[in-house]
């Protein structure tokens, strides 16, 4: 039996199909999020089935997660991204105790107990300053591709201080820094440090190790280093960080089937 996990995130939709018995990933894919997200999700799902030669009736259970989970009509049920990321990350990194997930529109810190269950979590619910949205704004303002941000930040020798807690004001600061001749590399490194600082505010005084970094922003090189620097702890980027939510949803779908 095959199970599917769908992570309908704010910026992208991710789908993972797994073998229910072995939890082996059969196929996976993603597409940009849009207004007609249910249609986009169904389209991606059909495409993955077709490319893998899978019949829809062989898919025993589908769980949707993510911001848009309730709009996914092909899903049998929904589970929050907090639970799904925890399951997905723990599957990939079995000793993970803290997960930092930075997505397009939010960031979260998930604490796990020894058995891998969620102990509790904290989410950035105040602004976009600790999210991937900040990086997008900066890339647009600096006229660079988001994929090159990490490479550019690595060349920085003196990250620019970004003091604003708000993306809109930070953008104004960036304009000022550019006008004063600050190198783009230093601005990017400064922004990465600002995002990391914002995220570390979620951790409180104690943070359990190891820390695993997941979500789309984990793919931006340099962000893990910025987080390590802000936390003073080693941060490991999860394998396939953008897909951990969908993977977790698929694993939970498989557990539902094997339990019933």
């Amino acid at each position: 039996m095959i199970c599917a996990g769908i992570d309908a995130g704010s910026r992208t939709i991710k789908i993972v199909l797994i073998e229910a018995d072995t939890l082996k990933v059969i196929t996976k894919g993603l597409t940009d999020q849009g207004v007609e997200q249910d249609k986009l999700t169904s389209g991606l799902f059909r495409k993955l089935l077709k490319n893998s030669g899978i019949d829809k009736k062989d898919v025993g259970r589908i769980i949707a997660t993510g911001y848009g989970r309730n709009a996914v009509s092909i899903a049998d049920t929904t589970i929050t991204e907090i639970t799904c990321h925890a399951v997905g990350v723990r599957y990939l990194v079995p000793d993970a105790e803290t997960i930092i997930d930075i997505g397009g529109e939010d960031s979260k810190l998930i604490r796990l107990d020894r058995s891998g269950r969620v102990r509790d979590f904290a989410m950035n619910d105040r602004c976009a300053a600790g999210t991937g949205r900040f990086l997008e704004v900066v890339a647009r303002r600096l006229g660079v591709d988001i994929g090159s941000l990490g490479r550019m930040a690595a060349k920085s020798h003196s990250p620019a201080p970004i003091s604003s807690m708000c993306v809109v004001f930070a953008e104004t600061e960036i304009i000022g820094l550019l006008a004063s001749g600050t190198a783009r590399e230093d601005i990017i490194a400064g922004v990465q440090a600002a995002i990391a600082a914002r995220v570390t505010a979620l951790t409180g005084r104690n943070i359990d190790l190891p820390i695993v970094f997941t979500g789309g922003v984990a793919m931006v090189s340099g962000m893990d280093t910025a987080l390590q620097s802000a936390l003073g702890q080693t941060v490991t980027v999860s394998p396939d960080p953008q897909m951990t939510g969908a993977l977790g949803a698929a694993i939970l779908a498989a557990k539902h089937i094997t339990h019933y």
Binding site: Y67, E81, I82, T83, V118, F121, A122, M123, D125, G204
Partner: protein, 457 residues
């Protein structure tokens, strides 16, 4: 059968109850009539379907009428600001004073869905969104549209919210005289200081109790001047007994609602009921009747073993009241059940000592306020209550701009995690949550999932 119904369904039910001979007070009527007054949020809430809940809602939503009526009858109105359950006890000890809680205006932006412009008025006065939504009170004073301007305004100051002190000072600067009384920051007695054990379990130096007592004496004198009556010990003692009646009913109500196998009363009605402890909704005697009715309904449901919500609902202890009432409905939709609350006035749910001189007893109660001591004290009381009510997780609901919420949440969370090893989650609830509903739902559902996962061995 108990259940939750919409406003429209309540109107139908009201007609059925009326035809069946339901006895209701003169302020009763179909709930939907309050929408005509601009309370549009009511259209989006779900309500308990009991006659007792109907009475509770009608009582709450007719407070302004009650205040105007009291004034027309020649009674004097006292606005008791930033006071959580002390000064109203004194005011209601005199039969020609009616106290109310202008701070209650913080819910107007929610109930009227921002249509009154109260927050915009506050903005223009320099009290912007960096302050607690209680800033709506400024607009309510300036428009005079939500409560009559009181004959006397009192306000506690000192170890109270910074936001509120600033807002009250702004109000004062706008020409509204305020009788200030000071409440010091409660601290544990030094070894060489005489100590007083306060209701609720905290301790304070005797000198602090004496100081607060002296402050209350000023208020007492002002009340005597305003009412033309003497507020003697006998009257105060009688007032304390009546206040304790309210507290006794609430204590019993909370115990049953939070611990019964089936949830007998929704979170929303429980929130409204608990709030009566601090302000009596401008009629202390009717508060007693309303709570008695609610308690009888709850007892009947518990006896019959009926309620609502799934039996496996996650048992959550809730800290701080929400600015948007609809969140309590949402919480239950997501699979949560309230099992314990700390809405910033736990002390007002404790019995006022009746074996002490009344002013001293009230001074002790004022000092027992969780907000005038350290966050560690507050967390300690929360831990005790979490244990008593058997909650499985703690939810700290921040009020945007409220300084105590911003500062205390993390401290309380860390202490509860350390002492009780239960999940702790914080979320922020603005006066209208419509635009952030998906994000709020995610947090609440995730907390419920976390609790349920922890139940599995």
């Amino acid at each position: 059968m108990p259940g939750q119904i919409t406003l429209q369904e309540w109107d139908q039910r009201y007609e059925q109850l009326r035809k069946a001979g339901l006895h209701q007070p003169d302020y009763s009527g179909p709930l939907s009539r309050h929408v005509e007054d601009g309370d549009t949020r009511l259209l989006k809430l779900r309500y308990d379907n009991s006659a007792a809940a109907l009475r509770l809602w009608n009582f709450l939503l007719t407070e302004e009428d009650r205040l105007h009526k009291a004034r027309a009858e020649g009674k004097k109105l006292v606005g008791t600001m930033k006071d959580l359950g002390t000064i109203p006890v004194m005011a209601y000890s005199l039969d020609n004073l009616v106290a109310f809680y202008p701070d209650g205006a913080w819910w107007i932006p929610c109930v009227m869905e921002l249509n009154t412009g109260l927050l915009k008025i506050a903005d223009k006065l320099g009290i912007d969104e960096s302050f607690c939504p209680v800033r709506a009170m400024l607009g309510a004073f300036l428009t005079g549209a939500h409560f009559p301007i009181p004959d006397l305004l009192t306000c506690s100051v000192g170890a109270t919210c910074d936001d509120f002190s600033a807002i009250a000072q702004r109000l004062n600067g706008l020409g509204y005289p305020i009788l200030w009384w000071e409440i010091p920051h409660r601290h544990p007695p030094e070894p060489d200081e005489a100590a007083v054990k306060l209701p609720g379990g905290f301790s304070a130096p005797k000198s602090q109790v004496e100081f607060v007592e002296s402050q209350l004496q000023h208020i007492k004198t002002a009340f005597e001047d305003l009412s033309g009556q003497r507020l003697d010990e006998k009257k105060l003692s009688t007032g304390i007994k009546k206040a304790n009646k309210v507290r006794t009913y609430l204590a019993e109500l909370r115990q049953l609602a939070f611990t019964a196998p089936q949830c007998p009363m929704p979170a929303l009605e429980m929130l409204i009921a608990e709030m009566l402890a601090i302000h009596f909704c401008s009629d202390r005697n009717e508060t007693i009747v309303v709570l008695k009715g609610l308690l009888e309904e709850v007892k009947a449901r518990v006896r019959a073993g009926i309620g609502f919500l799934s039996p496996d609902a996650a048992r959550i202890f809730w800290v701080n009241p929400v600015a948007d009432l609809q969140v309590m409905n949402l919480f239950e939709d997501c699979g949560g059940r309230i099992c314990g609350t700390e809405y910033l006035f736990t002390h007002a749910l404790d019995a006022i000592p009746q074996d002490l001189p009344p002013t001293e007893a009230l001074a002790q109660m004022a000092l027992a306020d969780p907000m005038v001591g350290s966050s560690i004290d507050r967390a300690s009381r929360i831990c005790n209550d979490v244990r008593i009510f058997g909650a499985e997780a703690l939810l700290i609901s921040r009020i945007p701009g409220a300084s105590h919420c911003a500062l205390e949440g993390q401290i309380i969370g860390e202490i509860v995690r350390d002492k009780l090893n239960i999940p702790v989650v914080e979320l922020e609830v603005p006066p209208l949550t419509d635009s952030i509903r998906p994000a709020l739902r995610t947090r609440l559902e995730a907390l419920v999932e976390t609790v349920r996962a922890r139940r599995k061995k």
